[in-house]
Subunit: 347 residues, 2 copies
């Protein structure tokens, strides 16, 4: 198996490693020598009451969330101890691309959002002795993890801010993830996930990134040629320079592993399928954030769940970047998101 | 080349043939022995002032439009002479699947919406001596043809009703068609369009129909399990029984041929790219019909064009079936569409 240079600390910065040992997964298999890689910013205070947990989205690593952290901003490392856990399948924590045989590549076991959250729980309790999180937040699959935390450990979460994600994956969203997975698998060299080098699967990766071009943004984005605002010269230049450039260096098995988690995200499995009961048990003050134009997690889907959470508010981030409003491509999104985080930390 | 039993009159009813001879296409090539196949309902009166033209959508044939025609309904064959032209690439009119070498299969030339409309113009003038259409209407690519008619022959169209389509294909829509085309081309047996039998390409056809499952309907449709209303038992049953069952018998080259026309639909090519000038020249009373939840032709895109048409109105069809509201899966859509057509014919 060729080592993929994309998943290197040169590109993603230094990580710390938390050894999970023989980690039993929700679906039944065990990852032996399982690892959770993470980053931290700031310092845990003596009372251990300044911790924020900020898991990342599908396809990302902790680095993707660091842009929200900064002196003078709501997530201020001079005040808070901010933990950025890597999710399984991200290429740093245990993943298809870095796990030895027999669990390598196409044989990597199915992991769930619940497995990520259990691993994170062990990290913050065993490694740091933290008993309560001041805030847990996340975008997209980070939101799924946020919901899982708030439902699973209601007494440990003071405030929760899920951005552009749902507590239970909707059927349309399930179809969407299946479609982009199948695009990756369609590569003539995919070989049931047992390719030697991800670069051999560039046809599938490109086909997959093309679908992100269609569903990841919105009609109005393209009509207004919003890509011009960030320096692209044509629609084709945007497709290649934005989507292909982002996805081509990645490992298809890692994306599929994280996609399976995404598809099966459902906090109601803790309450025999009763979503109202699951969300009704959340004790955290919760700000459910929906993004206008988001085709994955439409405002209506986010709002329907928000209404089931006792101490919650719906907040809207307005952006033509749709689901990718989180990237703060214009100052407006940064302002809107910082305002929500400020309110959350001062609720 | 194996004859595809799907494109037979047994399944689609009898057609008439209009011989176009050596037909020069907008993009420059000539189809020799070019044919336009069509159906008619009702009789042309002596004054020749009761003709309605009703072109069909992408992937369809004239049969798909016959459900809107009936005694006592707005499109009443006892009053009107209704012409249902086949579009190029539909498997009956000249298409990749039925054209002899050297223009067979993957070598079929690029055709445009303009070519369809020129062929239809020859049909109604040369074959029937019609000088004015009382109404031209169509859904989706039928709407594209409707706009092309109204812009190209403004003095020949009394009323135009484009349903769920645009006069100029939007960039997002272009990306969408490219994505589903590429799914068809991804089939391991596609062979650059030179497969012997479309049934060999079922993997690509299924991949393509999966994308229609994602983009062709809307999030709310799946959330409400609207597919139950038409007898499907599960999400998977709907995917296979609705989308796969519809697309699997078809010819990928035909779908790609029609898709290329769809992508390049743009009436502003008659006015050097000035869409306002093109639409501003329409003389027909025009009812622009947008479908709620349509992800291909969102209401905002339809409305933006409507505002450029002098004597026009925007009408909305409300349906969870999104773009496929046209299929009248519930009585509500039939009522809404019939009402619009009644108004159009009595304007």
């Amino acid at each position: 198996m060729v080592v993929n240079p994309y998943y290197s600390e040169d590109l993603h910065g230094p990580h710390q490693t938390f050894e999970l040992g023989d980690f039993k997964l929700e679906m039944g298999e065990i990852i032996r020598g399982c690892k959770l890689l993470y980053k931290t910013h700031g310092k845990l205070n003596q009372k251990k009451d300044n911790a924020i947990l900020f898991p990342h989205m599908w396809s990302g690593t902790p680095k993707a969330m660091e842009g929200f952290i900064g002196k003078g901003r709501p997530l201020d490392p001079e005040k808070y101890f901010i933990i950025l856990p890597g999710q399984f399948g991200n290429g740093f924590s245990s993943s298809p691309s870095n796990t030895p045989t027999p669990h390598d590549r196409g044989a990597f076991p199915k992991v769930t959002i619940g497995d990520d959250v259990v691993a994170q729980h062990r990290l913050i309790t065993e490694q740091f002795g933290i008993e309560e999180l001041q805030l847990i937040l996340g975008w997209s699959m980070g939101a799924q993890q946020t919901y899982e935390w708030a439902v699973r450990f209601p007494d440990m979460v003071k405030c929760a801010v899920p951005f552009a994600g749902t507590a239970r994956t909707t059927p349309h969203n399930y179809l969407w993830v299946t479609a982009f997975e199948d695009a990756l698998k369609s590569d003539p060299n995919f070989n049931d996930g047992f390719f030697e080098d991800a670069r051999l699967c560039h046809v599938g990766l490109r086909r997959h990134s093309q679908l992100w071009g269609v569903m990841g943004l919105c009609q109005e984005f393209y009509k207004k040629e919003t890509w011009r605002d960030v320096g692209f010269s044509s629609l084709e230049d945007f497709q290649h320079g934005f989507w292909d450039a982002y996805f081509l260096p990645m490992d298809p098995n890692n994306l599929i592993c994280m996609g399976w988690k995404w598809k099966h995200g459902d906090v109601s499995r803790h309450t025999c399928g009763d979503l109202r009961a699951a969300l009704g048990g959340i004790k955290a003050k919760t700000y459910v954030v929906a993004f206008t134009h988001d085709m994955f997690f439409p405002m209506a889907d986010c709002e329907a769940e928000q209404k089931m959470i006792p101490d919650s508010e719906l907040r809207i981030v307005n952006s033509l970047w749709a689901h990718f409003g989180m990237f703060c491509m214009s100052p407006s999104e940064k302002e809107q998101i910082d305002k929500i985080l400020f309110d959350a930390l001062h609720a």
